[in-house]
Structures are given as C-alpha cells and as structure tokens.
C-alpha cells in the first residue's frame, strides 16, 4: 500500500510538472528612485529596480507607488537570474518616499521603501557624471552626482533636471539609449528654457466618439427581428404541424440570442475605433508625443491594447489617480473588460523614436527636409518666414524659407496623413482616425547672426 502511494505520488508529480511557486526568501529586491534621490512634482521620476531571483520562476508584476500615482510593470524572471528594469512615475501630489513591490499572484514577495527628496520648482537640479572634474568648480555646483552607467535610458528620466553635465570622457561611457536620451533632453530643455513648450503647434482636439449602440448592435437587432418574422410566417401558415411552429420560434430566438451575443466580436465592425488628436514635437532624434483621444470598444470582451514603439504613459481619463501599466517588454498597455459600445477617453504622453524632419540654416535661409518615408501634408513655415504655407513635402524633398522677422512661434509644422503611433490589441484590429501634427523648432537666425 505505501509503495502504491509513493509510486502514485511520483507519477502525479511527473504528470503535473514543476509548479511555478515564487519563494519569498529567494527574491532579492533593490531599487532607487529619482536623480540621486531627487525629484520634482509633476515631472517623471526614474525608478531603477533590480530583481535577483534565486529559486523558482517568478511571474507577476512590479508596482511602484509614489503619492497618488501607481505604475505596474509585468515581469517574468526565470530562476536563477537577475533583471533590471527602469520605470518612470509622475505625480502632482508627491511624497517623501516611494514604494516598490514585487507581486506574484496576489502575494507580495518583496517590497522596498525608497526615500525621495522633492526639489522646489525654482531649485536648480544639476546632474553630473561621477568623477567629473568640473563638479566642484562650476556654477551652479552639481546637485546630484551619478555614475554614467546609472543615467536614465529615457529622456523622461531627465525632465526633472535643470542641467545635465557630461564631460566627453563620461559621455563615452553612456550607451546608445542614454546618449539619445540626453540629446533629446537637451532639445527639450532648450524649448522649455525659451518658454516654447506651450507654443508648439497642437492638433485640434478631435470630436469624441459617441458611445452606445453601434452598427453591429443595430444589425444584430434587425437580424433577430427578421428571424422572428420568418418564424412568425411559419407559425401563421395553416396546416403546418404545431411542432414546426414552435421549432421555428425556438430556433429564431436561439439564433437571435447568438447574433446579439456575437455582434461586434466577429464579422463587420469587429474593430476598436480610436479617434485622436496627436501633437508631435521633434526633439533631437526623437519626438515628444501627446495624444488625446477616445476609444470605442466593439463588443463585450476583455481587451489588451498596446501602444507600440512608444516610451511613455498611456492612461485612462478621467482617473481618480494616475495609474499606468506596462507589459513584460515595457510596452504601455491598457487592460480592461468593456461592454459593447463603451467609450474610454485616453491620454498618451511620452517620447518616441520618430524624427521625420531635418532642419538646416544658411544665414537667414532655413531649409527643412522630409527624411521620413511618408509624405507630409499642409506643411507650413510660421509667421516671420517668407516660405510656403500649406504645401506637401514628399519623402526626401525639401522646402526653404527666408527669415524676415523673429518668429513668435518658431516651428515648422506638417500634418501627418497617417497616425504616427501604432496601437495593437490582442484580439481586435485598431482603427485610428484623427489629426496628427508634427513640428520642429526652427533656428533663431537673427539671434545667431547677432551672436556672430
């Protein structure tokens, strides 16, 4: 008997396989927040998390909380291995500490509290690379000193800084993502310092999509009615058996229920509809992206919608508190179960690798080239330039303008015929419609001439 039990247990174990059970003691969590612990209200704060998983594969999520904001990042860490992730969180209600939790299932397997010092709006935050000889002598002095390897890999990680000092030696120690992030931050800082952020040409707000019954629901109702009418015709036919009459009504009702249940989930109209307005401001080799839109869901289902190739936050509006989700690859995700015709307002803010325009200046003549692979329409130079307004810029082509006066809104802007952001859902195609405006700052040729 005991032998039978042992053999049974072994066989059951072989059939079932090894369970993925995270061991609390086996997960070591390290994390630090901010630029050397410093952060600003309303600005993204980098949070670097390191998970050392020694025994038992770990599937779950990392949750970072700061003030009323919360960021979720899915993780899949095999054992034994170590993974590092970088998250960004922002809140207008900051606190003196941020919390990191590693959650597997419903269990918190590791957690950590990190101190955060809130820098005032006017307080300089100078980020320097460690071993920087200029750190002690420059004015203002370095507020924070970090190893170049620990510098954030996204431009979002630097937005709290008022200055980033990187001597050539330190810059060489940055990887490609870090270099790109610093370059983008410099362009962003330039816009901010010149009070140009508010003057970026913005896409007009798109009319929100109507929620409620869409075409699939109406089609389903009409189909159910038509089926019942057919059944009624059979019912009313004299001489038919009673069984046939009841069968006709029963079958028509059952088919009507099926059509009503599946309308929007299969067949025509089974797609997520997103109406948006996107503003893209080119900074360095990337772009600041701000999208506002509304999404209508085609059927009652659970949705997992991703914004591809995008480094930023995707959040629902209105929300009680800012909360964002990311998948294992760090792609922003919107998860949820929605009914047919439900509408969700969405905000997207962040950075993406998209730089369709290239600007060069020769004296007072400014040249803009379309270096993307798609045509840009309604391209315009601003007031202060005698260049064309409203033309199309084909891929590889350029347009020039002469600066005649200092421009109040020094941006060259175009309309993108197709949305720059790509959204994908796990089950349904996503159809994006709306306006996307891309702009690039034009050099201040008058100031340059004056300096010369």
């Amino acid at each position: 008997m005991p032998l039978t039990l042992i053999v049974g247990a072994v066989v059951a174990g072989i059939i079932q396989g090894a369970a993925v059970v995270p061991a609390r003691e086996s997960v070591v969590l390290r994390a630090d927040a901010g630029l050397g612990g410093l952060a600003r209200p309303g600005r993204w704060m980098p949070v670097r998390v390191e998970i050392d998983n020694r025994t038992g594969d770990l599937k779950g999520e990392v949750v970072v909380e700061w003030g009323d904001a919360r960021v979720h990042r899915a993780i899949d860490v095999p054992a034994p291995s170590r993974t590092r992730i970088e998250l960004y969180i922002r809140t207008s209600d900051p606190r003196g500490s941020a919390a990191v939790r590693v959650i597997a299932g419903s269990e918190t397997v590791a957690s950590l509290e990190m101190p955060v010092r809130i820098a005032g709006e006017e307080e300089p935050l100078v980020l320097c690379a460690a071993n920087d000889a200029s750190a002690a002598v420059d004015d203002p002095p370095c507020t924070v000193t970090m190893r170049p390897e620990a510098f954030p890999r996204s431009m979002r990680g630097y937005v709290a800084a008022s200055e980033v000092r990187l001597p050539p030696g330190a810059e060489a120690r940055l990887d490609r993502a870090q270099r790109s992030a610093v370059q983008r931050w410099r362009a962003f800082r330039d816009l901010e310092a010149n009070d140009l952020i508010a003057r970026i040409p913005r896409a007009p707000l798109a009319a929100t999509l109507e929620s409620g019954a869409g075409r699939p629901a109406r089609l389903a109702a009409v189909t159910a009615m038509a089926l019942l009418l057919c059944a009624s015709a059979i019912w009313m036919r004299r001489g038919d058996s009673a069984l046939r009459s009841y069968a006709a009504v029963g079958v028509a009702s059952a088919l009507g229920i099926m059509v009503a249940a599946f309308a929007g989930r299969i067949g025509p109209g089974a797609e997520l509809m997103m109406r948006q307005s996107t503003t893209i401001a080119q900074i360095g080799d990337g772009a600041l992206v701000s999208m506002r839109g509304s999404m209508v869901y085609p059927g009652y289902a659970s949705y997992t919608t991703r914004v591809m190739g995008f480094d930023g936050d995707v959040s629902r509006r209105p929300a009680e508190a800012p909360e964002t989700w990311f998948d294992v690859e760090g792609t922003p995700v919107l998860d949820g179960t929605f009914g047919r015709g439900a509408r969700q307002d969405i905000e997207v803010d962040g950075v993406m690798d998209y730089a369709p325009l290239q600007v060069s200046a020769d004296g007072v003549v400014v040249r803009v080239r379309n270096q993307s692979e798609s045509a840009l329409t309604e391209c315009s130079f601003p007031e202060g330039f005698d260049g064309p307004r409203g033309g199309t810029l084909e891929p590889g082509s350029s347009t020039t303008a002469r600066a005649v006066a200092p421009a109040d809104v020094p941006f060259f802007s175009c309309v993108l015929p197709a949305p720059a952001l790509a959204m994908m859902d796990r089950r349904f195609p996503v159809r994006l419609e709306g306006t996307t405006i891309v702009s690039i700052r034009l050099p201040d040729v008058f100031r340059a001439a004056a300096v010369e």
Binding site: S211, G212, A213, A217, R218, A220, A221, A224, M225, L228, L229, A231, S232, W235, M236, D240, A242, S245, Y246, V249, G250, A252, S253, G256, I257, V259, A260, A261, A263, G264, G299, Y300, T337, F338, G339, R340, G341, A342
Partner: protein
C-alpha cells in the same frame, strides 16, 4: 394530462397571438436598448442591462395576459370536466394541464424577447449567464399569468373580459410584490407563490364542481 397540455400547445398555434406578442416584446425591448436608452437621461443609477430587465418585466406584464387568453381555447369549467372524463382524468388534473400548457406557450414568448436583453447585457458588460439566471423570476410571472388566465377563461363569459381580468389581477399582484420589494427576484418568487395559490384554488374549484356534477347525476 399530457394530451390536454399538448392540446393547449396546439391550440396556441391556431392563433397569431404568440408571434405577435413575441414580435412586440422583441421590438419594444430592442428599441429601448438601441434608441431610447442612449438618447434619454437615465433616472436610475443602474446599468443598461438592469434598466432593460425592468422594461422587459413591464412589457411581459402588459403582453403576456393578453397573449395567454388569446392563445388558449375558451374552455368553461364544465367542458374541462367533460374532457377530463373522456381521457379518464380528474378535472383538477385537466385544469393543471391547461395551466401547464399556457405556461409553456409563454416560455416561448419570453425566450423570443431575450435577444433584446442580450444586447443590453453586452453593452453593460454583464456576464451572459446573468441573463439566463434572471429568467428564473420571469418564470414566476409566467406561472402567475398562466394560472390567472386559465381562471379568468373558466370564470368569465368571453375572451375580452378574461383578458381584462387577467391583466388586472397580474398587475395587482405584481405591483403589490414590487411595493413590498424592489428586487425582481423576490417579486418573481411572490408571483410564483401567487400562481401556485391560484392553481390550487382552480384545481379545488374544478374538483368541487365535478363532485357536485356527480352528486347531481346520482
């Protein structure tokens, strides 16, 4: 007993009451979900499915009494007793069979109106199983209508009067139940209880009448 129930079902196919009631229920329900609800401000905080469910009850309470009387043969108590004698059954069993037949006919009408509820359920993101679970209290209403309609047919002299009586009794019971509880489940249970009482009363009446006839014959 089965023969009498089948007779009731077959008799219903000889009238247009069932398809008309089914079409009315489906079209009004779908119109509420697709046209009325999205355009009109709601007076309750409940979701679209709960609103559509309430509308379905109102429609059923309005349509089922008329449909039950129209689709049922106008049998008086003495003809029911006669039929019972022909098939060697008790008159109370014959009445119960008639009520069962009327109940089954109503189930088809209730079922035909379900696509409108499913449309609301899909919009409100409520599980589909809830639609079928919420059918149970509707069965209570259907039982009440079946018992009341048979009683009205048996006691009233003509169809119009029977339909009016059935409607009045069903509405009175339903409003009393809803006055006592706003939960449709509890209201359905109360309707079912009232339906069972009405059935028992009618069976007793049929049994008593048969005994009197037998005494008279002796």
């Amino acid at each position: 007993m089965r023969a009498l129930t089948t007779r009731e079902l077959v008799a219903a196919t000889r009238t247009a009451a069932v398809p008309v009631a089914a079409l009315l229920l489906l079209s009004a329900g779908a119109a509420f979900v697709l046209i009325w609800a999205p355009r009109m401000p709601t007076i309750t905080t409940t979701n679209l499915y709960e609103q559509a469910r309430a509308v379905q009850w109102i429609l059923l309470a309005a349509v089922l009494p008329w449909m039950a009387v129209r689709s049922s043969p106008m049998d008086r108590l003495d003809s029911i007793a006669l039929m019972a004698a022909v098939i060697a059954a008790r008159p109370s069993s014959a009445v119960a069979a008639k009520i069962a037949g009327a109940f089954l006919v109503q189930l088809f009408v209730v079922f035909a109106g379900l696509p409108a509820l499913v449309l609301a359920q899909q919009a409100a993101a409520v599980p589909l199983s809830a639609v079928f679970a919420d059918l149970l209290p509707v069965l209570g209403l259907a039982l009440l209508v079946a018992a009341t309609s048979v009683a009205s047919i048996v006691l009233a002299a003509d169809g119009l009067r029977a339909a009016v009586w059935t409607s009045v009794v069903v509405l009175a019971v339903l409003l009393s139940a809803l006055g006592w509880t706003s939960d449709l489940w509890k209201a359905g249970v109360l309707c079912a209880a009232a339906g069972i009482v009405a059935t028992a009363f009618l069976c007793a009446l049929a049994g008593g009448s048969a005994n009197m006839d037998a005494t008279d014959a002796r």
